[in-house]
Amino acid sequence: MLKMPDTDLGANAQAKHATKVAASGVNVYYGDKQALQNVSVNIPDRAVMAFIGPSGCGKSTFLRCINRMNDTITSAKITGKILIDDQDIYDKSLDVVQLRARVGMVFQKPNPFPKSIFENVAYGPRIHGLVHSKADLEEVVHASLEKAGLLKEVKDRLDDPGTGLSGGQQQRLCIARAIAVNPEVILMDEPCSALDPIATARIEELIDELRQNYCIIIVTHSMQQAARVSQRTAFFHLGTLVEEGDTTEIFTNPKDKRTQDYITGRFG
């Protein structure tokens, strides 16, 4: 049986947690191939939303739309609206660099910069001009590492290369790096898929702590992880958003047959 998350999101979910990211009618094309069809979803703030679905269903594609990482792919075309705090992020006047400071991302395979641990975390605040003195920078770095649960392990070797850490530590470093620029939304693209179960458990604990301050959207292949960690879940299938709602509802009482089939393991 799936362990039900300790969720404080019930029927009054939307009232407690305002919508942070609102997508409506999002279509994504890679050249002629359509990867996402007419996706509309409201993602609440200070909560974890999980995107689940079989491989190739478009959940990562949609996630990357939220911080406009798909812009780096020349053949990608995106239509529709995505609003963060009622601001259309695909508006021509919006600066994508500023957007990415507000919407951080953690990738599937940990990718720390080939620099020191300190530099990895310090880079973001420095280029955005968030700190004005060396002491401030050190404080920010320490606080981010602390929030990511990594400080105790690395505090006396901050000048060691970030790539010398273990997989789980590297991923936590990447999370610290994302937090250091003080984002509002954190996107996580299968953050634990390259990690062992113990490291995974630590990251899940971390996500649970982080959700009190950030809007977290996590793409995951594991339904158990979605059930453990998220308050709301969206099920994607073949480029469409099939169903979304409270995690408990989706897993105990799905409305769509496709969702039911996926959850019970018929496919995926």
Partner: protein
């Protein structure tokens, strides 16, 4: 699910027998291939060995030079009759007569016997006065004293002493008379005629006498050109490659540029020489034989190499690094300059050093722009006439005197040694930086 049998209805277990039969053939083919590889490498090594052997056997004698140890009486009446130590007077005094007198007394020849004195004079280098003048100018207080000075023997004596001249030839062909031969043998026994390390090979400029010829000017010329290539080709090449790789839109125009750059890398170097002649010398009016022009021509030649290797180095940086940087909110420029370029530097460095090494050895384009000048004095700036090391080798190779044969090989050895060092440096750099990342 039942496992269906594969190729042509084989039962599982049957294929093992078929594979077993073919295995001998497969291993034999691999063995043959390895033999071909070893044979190819052996042939290459053989040729390389022959090259080095012939270079070294011909050239090692160039590093020593036959010299006379003479006690030269610095006669005041010849050097400085007025006693005022006037610079002009000191520069233009006839020092060679002092050398001849010193050698005559060392050989036991009376200075009044004119035919014998002529033969004595022939044993000395034609530039012997330069060496004595150098000693006097360095310390004018020596005038009036007798000082021991090493002076160069003539080119023919040098050739004889190095065993390159057949002693059994008749004297008219040998160009050394029997009397001179007797003197030389006696002198070398006494130790006043000896071979010393040939520093002149390294510091002197061009000379029509092989004993005083050196690669000094050529080295300085090559150095100026390498510096110009470094200063121009590297920034231009890296910037062009970064632009083409990261910023340029992918369309027909940029494709055409890329094809053209790849083709330029294969253009014969003499064509670049013609280009340099037409643009830099004829159109822009830069001085002929200047290392500036040579540097500019070599820059044009090295640019395609640097662009191609830099692009390859940039492509090799994993996209995960770029995504990580963009994800944190870095702009495109920041991603490139803070993350991609530092990781590409080892590749860029290796490409630069290899490109520089190639440029160092280029001769044909430099011939076209006139760097075949006979330059005696060190070039004071890139605008003064000079020559380059490979061109100097070419000029010596075409000279008539026997003494230049060993110098050609000697200079070639020096050039090869420098190129080996540069390429070794590139390999070491690459190894060291690859490990870190």
């Amino acid at each position: 699910m039942a496992v269906t049998s594969v190729a042509r209805g084989l039962q599982p277990g049957q294929s093992a027998e078929i594979i077993g039969r073919g295995i001998g053939r497969r291993y034999a083919a691999e063995r043959r291939f390895r033999l071909y590889g070893i044979a190819a490498i052996s042939i290459a090594v053989l040729f390389l060995g022959y090259l080095f052997f012939s270079l070294i056997s011909q050239g090692y004698t160039a590093f020593v030079q036959t010299s006379w140890k003479l006690n030269v009486f610095l006669d005041r009446s010849v050097i400085d009759p007025s006693g005022q130590k006037d610079q002009n007077q000191l520069m233009t005094a006839d020092y060679s007569v002092l050398a001849r007198k010193a050698l005559a007394s060392a050989l036991g020849v009376n200075a009044t016997e004119r035919p014998k004195m002529r033969e004595v004079g022939q044993l000395l280098s034609r530039d012997v006065d330069l060496e004595i003048r150098k000693a006097v100018l360095a310390d004018p207080s020596l005038i009036g004293k007798t000082v021991p000075i090493w002076v160069l023997a003539s080119g023919r004596v040098d050739t004889l002493m190095k065993g390159q001249l057949d002693r059994d030839l008749p004297a008219s062909v040998r160009k050394i008379s029997d009397q001179q031969l007797g003197w030389l043998d006696k002198a070398s026994e006494e130790g006043i005629l000896a071979k010393r390390f040939n520093t002149g090979l390294f510091v002197n400029g061009a000379s029509s006498n092989p004993e005083t010829a050196g690669i000094g000017v050529a080295v300085i010329g090559s150095l100026y050109m390498m510096l110009i290539v470094l200063a121009l080709a590297v920034p231009l090449g890296v910037a062009a490659a970064v632009y083409l790789e990261e910023f340029a839109p992918k369309n027909l125009f940029t494709d055409a540029i890329e094809v053209n750059i790849n083709n330029l890398a294969a253009v014969p170097s003499i064509v670049f020489g013609l280009l340099g002649l037409a643009i830099f010398i004829n159109f822009m009016g830069l001085p002929r034989s200047a290392s500036l022009v040579g540097g500019l021509v070599l820059t044009l030649m090295t640019l395609p190499t640097i662009i191609i290797t830099t692009r390859a180095a940039l492509k090799a940086v994993p996209p995960s690094i770029r995504e990580a940087a963009l994800g944190v909110g870095a702009s495109k420029m920041q991603t490139i300059f803070h993350h991609v370029l530092p990781l590409a530097i080892p590749g860029i460095l290796t490409g630069t050093i290899v490109g520089l090494a190639q440029a160092l050895g280029e001769t044909a384009p430099l011939l076209m722009i006139g760097m075949v000048a006979f330059v005696v004095e060190y070039p004071t700036s890139p605008m003064s006439p000079s020559t380059a090391l490979p061109v100097q080798i070419y000029m010596w190779a075409t000279s008539a005197e026997r003494g230049f044969v060993e110098r050609t090989a000697g200079a070639a050895l020096i050039l090869v040694a420098v190129l080996i060092c540069m390429n070794l440096f590139a390999v070491i750099l690459r190894r060291r930086y690859e490990k870190r990342w």
